[in-house]
């Protein structure tokens, strides 16, 4: 039975005000079942206030083989990093 069920990615918002975060994946036959399964597998101990599910096939992922060209720019362009500013202490999370 399970081999026919597509894979779904589960995103959970832990608290109001926070963004949805990827929690894991599971199998389900349809969206409604995916939502209920996600509730039972990932949020039964008060872990969340909102769930998104999306069928995994709809996620386009970058190829690890492309990591060089995508994520590793030359390190000598220091002007690309905003490191020349003095941040006031009040600014958090920068």
């Amino acid at each position: 039975m399970k081999k026919d069920w597509p894979l779904w990615e589960v995103f959970v918002r832990s608290k109001n005000g926070l963004e949805h975060r990827h929690f894991g994946s599971l199998h389900a036959a349809d969206a409604e079942m995916a939502l209920e399964n996600a509730r039972d597998v990932y949020t039964r101990r008060n872990e969340g206030v909102s769930i998104w599910v999306v069928e995994s096939k709809y996620i386009t992922a970058s190829n690890p083989a492309d990591n060089g060209e995508l994520f590793e720019p030359a390190q000598d362009k220091i002007y690309r990093h905003p490191t020349f500013y003095d941040l006031p202490d009040e600014v958090k999370h920068m």
Partner: protein, 251 residues
């Protein structure tokens, strides 16, 4: 016991959750998929949580010598007050789902009324349980639709389960002596008044699931009076094994 009727009334509600929870617990590690296995075990844990509140209350009424474990584990078969529906075996997944749905729909109606009980403790337990029971009904109702309106085989198995379990539904609405006493005092729910709503709701969902509602006129009864089906003894043997073998054991 001074509050014998209230005590029996509480058992009449609590035992349904205990026995159904035990049945679902048997599936732990044996569910058809990882996700449904976890879902069914979750429901079992919800039911055990509710039943503990009832048994703690019952044990208190019994005068303090008894504990919730005594009430739950150390009664004879004839002293359990659950309906026959919840003790029926896990024949296949269709039976598990249909049994659950037929009970959940009733359970929700009961909790909705019980939260208006004059007994504050029962009202509080009901209020707390409603959210869980609403989810149970959503879960089992969705599965009834999915499997009833699924493949030819799933439809056939679901219809078989509905046909076999239907005969246990009428008992949900029977009144015991304890029921009548508690209704009179404004504590108990008159479940006989819930019958029409129940059958209308269930019929609507079964039809949506392309299942045929049985038209039988013969119904099984007895559980509420302690007269159980042949499955009950085996279930209790497993349920009570630890307390019988190692009296007073704790985790």
């Amino acid at each position: 016991m001074k509050n014998e009727d209230l005590y029996q009334y509480i058992l009449g509600i609590a035992d349904n959750s205990l026995i159904l929870g035990q049945r679902l617990g048997e599936l732990c590690g044996h569910g058809p998929t990882l996700e449904t296995d976890i879902a069914l075990t979750n429901i079992a844990l919800d039911l055990f949580g509710q039943t503990r509140s009832y048994y703690q209350y019952a044990a208190k009424l019994a005068g303090g010598v008894k504990t919730e474990d005594d009430v739950a584990m150390l009664r004879e078969e004839r002293e359990y007050r659950n309906v026959l529906l919840v003790e029926q075996p896990n024949t296949d997944f269709a039976f598990v789902i249909v049994r659950q749905y037929l009970f959940d729909e009733f359970h929700l109606l009961l909790m909705q009324e019980l939260q208006n009980s004059k007994d504050e403790m029962l009202a509080a337990i009901a209020k707390k349980g409603i959210k869980e029971v609403s989810y149970h009904r959503r879960f089992s109702g969705d599965w009834v639709k999915r499997l009833g309106d699924g493949t030819a085989e799933s439809n056939e198995r679901m219809q078989q389960a509905v046909d076999d379990l239907w005969r246990y539904t009428d008992e949900l609405f029977h009144l015991t002596k304890a029921d009548r006493e508690m209704i009179g005092q404004g504590i108990g729910v008159d479940v006989s008044q819930l019958r029409d709503t129940y059958y209308n709701t269930v019929t609507e969902l079964l039809q949506e699931a392309t299942l045929t509602v049985p038209e039988q006129e013969y119904f099984q009864k007895g559980g509420k009076e302690g007269i159980h089906s042949e499955h009950m003894g085996y279930l209790l043997t497993e349920l009570q094994y630890m307390q019988r073998s190692y009296p007073n054991m704790n985790w």
